[in-house]
């Protein structure tokens, strides 16, 4: 088995009486895109929020490598190699594309919150920002304000920011939501490239996209994992058919 970048052990999150995530134990391997699917309210987004540190679990543990990160806050987890995109695009709308990506690079630089700008440090940030922009194919848009980008470009920018922090684990919460067909295809290609040297968790409703990119598939319902394994095996799983995937979806 490949390197496990991140795993959860009996992870649970309760909101009052609702067990949004219930006893979830999953492993995310380097080089794999691990898709998590399930009907609305299955707990997918809550799981992502638990892994990113936006939520504190009620019980259970989260490990990055050997390190238990359960009690680390979101900013510490960011520094620890967990990057994420949000279901609603979460960028700095008034800043330019360049400034957005530079913030991502800066957050992980030694000068992250330095009170004085040093020429060498600033130059280093600029170079690494330019490199991250080329990787994401956003060079031409560098000086455009982020809120004037199209929705698809904003998502692309958000993922460029995540990659710029050089994470070990990338959490993508419905990256295709609200995208046009062409935008979706570009995004799927971008997502495929992310698995190189990283573990990727993908929460997505678009089943065509999920089956096109997923190396591993987990199905959740009512906060629990009801099936997990190779996409083709999960597809045939009877519990999954009953709980979530309609027969029509299976034959497409």
């Amino acid at each position: 088995m490949a390197d496990i970048a991140m795993r959860t052990a009996a992870l649970s999150k309760r909101f009052g009486g609702l067990a949004a995530v219930n006893d979830v134990s999953l492993a995310f391997a380097v080089g794999e895109i691990h898709a998590v699917i399930g009907p609305n309210g299955a707990g997918k987004s809550t799981l992502v929020n638990l892994l990113s540190g936006d939520f504190r679990p009620t019980s259970g543990d989260i490990f990055v490598g050997d390190r238990n990160v359960t009690m680390l806050a979101a900013d510490r987890r960011g520094l620890f190699g967990i990057g994420r995109s949000y279901q609603k695009t979460t960028i700095f709308p008034d800043a330019t594309v360049f400034e957005n990506v530079r913030l991502a690079v800066q957050a992980h630089a030694p000068s992250a919150i330095a009170l004085m700008a040093r020429t060498a440090g600033e130059q280093d940030l600029r170079m690494r920002t330019d490199a991250a922009l080329s990787t994401a194919g956003l060079n031409a848009r560098a000086n455009v304000r982020a809120n004037t980008l199209s929705h698809g470009e904003q998502r692309q920018l958000e993922i460029a920011m995540v990659i710029a922090t050089d994470p070990k684990v990338v959490l993508l919460d419905e990256p295709l939501a609200g995208m046009s067909g062409a935008e979706s295809r570009d995004m799927v290609e971008l997502i495929k490239t992310l698995r190189q040297g990283r573990a990727v968790l993908l929460v997505e409703h678009d089943m065509d996209a999920v089956f096109a990119v997923a190396d591993r598939l987990t199905v959740m319902a009512d906060g629990k994992v009801i099936a997990s394994g190779a996409p083709e095996d999960v597809r045939r799983h009877s519990a999954v058919r009953a709980a979530y995937l309609g027969a029509e979806t299976l034959h497409t």
């Binding site: 809550t46 504190r56 960011g78 609603k88 695009t89 979460t90 530079r102 913030l103 009170l115």
Partner: protein, 337 residues
């Protein structure tokens, strides 16, 4: 900086330095007062404009520094500037550290309320106890002196020298704020203002960044307060009250929150209005209020800018288009940090 901007800044600076040669003592002292309140407003703006956090307790840091001078000054001798100024700055910073550490755990309207409450607590401490003269305040009989090898190098008794000293402090404040707002620190602070959740998930220690800004801002407010107390030779609890904080906030709003020196011009507007209306009618505050409202209405971007910058700080997702409805409930839970 562009060439034209440079020239304007240089011209303003030369005019400010030359003012004592042209203006009568009364107006020089008035200009000193404007500079001091402008320093308070610029200090406040680091938190309000650049940090997106509306603090209503900055008069407390301003007042504490003034009280430190009043308490530390001997009755019949001048206090040493070298001793009392650092002491005043340490006291304001320490107060800002404690108040900031507690109030920065809240967001938005709650932050406003908590800072207001802390400010008023300090006001009533000085007002209702007999400490340092209680509600009567305390006098500083002699201006602080700056002795160097037995010579007072800064004779603050001379209004002209006092003015230049305050001008130097105001320039220093601008340079310091200019440096840190353009440094990685300033970018991180603005990032937290524009999208707290994204800034945090990128790895910025938001709380630490904001607390640092709050303490620097409190220290600079203290710098202004020290010179205010030295100029008037008197401190009273009103110096710490929310009314004083609100005036500084008005200066920030009028002057513009995205620029370092903007609030200084806000101070010029507010103090200029006060000074020119006072002589005309005893109801000058009413007219001043109406004019300020008119200014804000005429330049709505100033006020809008404040609102737009303040609201995202406590709900970073409000401004963004909503995609996907099924997580609304969970979203609400997510701002626990």
């Amino acid at each position: 900086m562009q060439r034209a901007t440079r020239l304007i800044v240089l011209a303003l600076l030369v005019a400010a330095i030359a003012l004592p040669f042209a203006a009568p003592t009364y107006y020089m002292q008035f200009a000193t007062k404007v500079l001091i309140l402008g320093m308070l407003a610029m200090a406040l703006n680091l938190v309000v404009g650049f940090g997106g956090l509306v603090s209503v307790c900055h008069a407390a840091f301003y007042g504490i520094a003034g009280y430190v001078l009043a308490i530390a000054a001997p009755k019949y001798e001048p206090a040493s500037l070298w001793l009392t100024l650092p002491l005043a700055l340490i006291a304001s910073s320490a107060a800002a550290l404690v108040l900031g550490a507690l109030s920065l755990r809240t967001r938005g309207v709650y932050f406003i309320m908590v800072t207001l409450a802390f400010g008023e607590m300090l006001f009533y401490f000085f007002h209702d106890t007999t400490f340092a003269g209680g509600s009567d305040g305390a006098f500083i009989n002699l201006k602080p002196e700056a002795m160097l090898f037995g010579v007072n190098v800064l004779d603050l008794d001379k209004p002209r020298v006092f003015y230049w000293a305050v001008l130097a402090m105001a320039v220093l404040t601008i340079l310091l704020l200019h440096t840190i707002t353009r440094a990685p620190f300033g970018r991180a602070l603005a990032a937290a203002r524009d999208n707290e959740r994204r800034a945090r998930s990128l790895g910025f220690p938001i709380y630490r960044v904001r607390l640092t800004a709050f303490v620097i801002s409190g220290a600079l407010a203290g710098l202004a307060g020290y010179f205010a107390a030295a100029q008037f030779g008197f401190v009273a609890p009103e110096m710490l009250g929310w009314h004083q904080s609100a005036i500084a906030l008005v200066m920030v709003v009028l002057g513009g929150q995205r620029s370092v020196a903007g609030p200084l011009f806000g101070a010029v507007i507010v103090m200029g209005l006060e000074e020119s209306l006072k002589g005309l009618t005893e109801h000058w505050k009413l007219i001043e209020g109406l004019i300020i409202i008119a200014i804000v209405l005429a330049f709505p971007s100033g006020l809008q800018g404040l609102v737009a910058r303040v609201l995202p700080a406590h709900d970073p997702e409000k401004r963004e288009p909503a995609f996907g409805q099924d997580r609304a409930r969970i979203d609400n839970e997510s701002d626990h940090g």
